[in-house]
Symmetry: C3
Subunit: 211 residues, 3 copies
């Protein structure tokens, strides 16, 4: 049953990442193939970068036609029904946050399977969760969103740290993945709901500028 | 004889991709080493990304000094004779379109040799044909040209689909590569000649903007 | 003793590359995690790209926790003491130039160990020395600095060529690495001190524009 739950979350995460790519691409008025390419990269970019750095090649989506097919269908639906989907921002945001948690845990587990240091596993979790969006923003010529005081990469990093804290306690191993996924989800969800952002490092400079 | 023909097209494609890199870099007023680096990346970037994703490493141009040497000489000639070359835009465009077809077929065949799904082979063909230009545009801080309603990636994708349609018929296998190369070339050539572009997804939004 | 010297230079180079990432990120007003990520990428990006192209995976910093830890500490110190560090621009610049020389030699030697052609080894040296900064500039949405007439990549390329010239003479092999490192350092150092830049390829165009 837990396997089914995780599989469902992976599917929802892949779909919402693909949809977020479609909307970002349409804001820059890209053509249909540009939209599909950006959608694809947003959805599988983080995992691809992780696997390239690990040398786990060819990358997984080349062997597994289901994920590319799922992304293609999601992206086309998102383009066709864009006026309807826009009304479900809140739902999309929840799926996106769940996906963020899921992909973070996926990266953490892969690092552990490769026998890597906890600190590096946290890096891999963050790459898997966030770097699809980073590559999307680079291709669209934006400064990556994750660099802009939002609690996004922060949620992945905190989730990774909590993973290894729980791992070293008597916390039941079989619920570790679901728990940390929900922790990342909650951090991201609460941060957006209560408008929490990272402290502003540049406050003093601003004052000088204004006075 | 067919081998010689394909080798000639590879050389012409490599040279014109290198020259297109030089001109794009000079438009941004880069220094001489910047021009050489962009020229190099435009020419071998697509194949390099494909081979990294496949794990076919070290990438081919590291073992084969001929291609880097060819690109270096082409780029230096393009800088020196830039005022002359500008008068041969039409010739360059034909070579560039032939190169696009050639590199697309190269990617398709490599995917087949790795036993990958036809859909993934089409992706690899498109990456090989187009992503040198995408990386060039990212480095030069432009939104990649292929995302801008031009029939460019479209030609690669259609070529890839036609490849697998012909593959499943009695079409003679030994002429498959040359045929699809010419198909990609013709799609690209006719699209530019008759000014064909992809449909505008944003028309309704435009109207709202103007009235 | 020479080993200790090289190790010291590697540490200083890693630290100064990390600090240069922090300052570039703060100029774009990134949040704290953005700063850490850019700092990390500036420091290990060149070597990572080299190892991905070579297929020497997983990349080294995943197995060696010391380097990531060193970068993390350097970056945090650079953020905390940014007002003090700014007064040591000259010192930082010397370390940065030493690091450039060190990482260039590292790339050259790795190419030789993989049995690659001297021309490709020079490319690998330049990638190792410069491409951390290139990726940093792409992420920050700047046109990469190395494309802007500064003697930076030039120093790596000249250093690489001198390496192979000395290699083919009776020059003592055990001092080759330190010598070339100092050559790269001196080229970079003198270029900045005497304000040397690459020739302007676009002068004639400028004149047309102004008259």
């Amino acid at each position: 049953m837990k396997e089914d739950l995780l599989r469902l979350i992976e599917i929802l995460g892949t779909i919402t990442f693909a949809i977020s790519g479609v909307f970002a691409a349409m804001q820059k008025r890209l053509d249909i193939f540009g939209i599909l390419i950006i959608s694809f990269i947003t959805s599988i970019g983080g995992g691809t970068l992780r696997d390239v750095l690990l040398g786990d090649l060819p990358v997984k989506w080349m062997r597994d036609i289901e994920t590319p097919a799922l992304i293609l269908v999601s992206a086309i639906c998102a383009v066709l029904f864009r006026h309807i989907i826009k009304n479900f921002q809140q739902t999309l945001f929840i799926f996106d946050s769940l996906g963020l948690g899921f992909f973070t845990v996926l990266g953490l587990q892969k690092g552990i399977r490769f026998g890597l240091n906890p600190g590096i596993c946290v890096v891999l979790g963050t790459i898997t969760g966030c770097f699809g969006g980073v590559i999307r923003d680079i291709l669209l010529n934006n400064i990556p969103l994750i660099f802009r005081r939002e609690i996004y990469a922060t949620a992945c990093i905190l989730g990774g740290i909590i993973y290894f804290i729980l791992y070293s306690t008597r916390f039941p191993k079989e619920w570790l993945d679901v728990t940390v996924m929900l922790v990342v989800f909650m951090i991201r969800f609460l941060a957006v709901k209560y408008n929490l952002i990272l402290p502003d490092l540049y406050k003093d400079k601003d004052k000088k500028g204004h006075h």
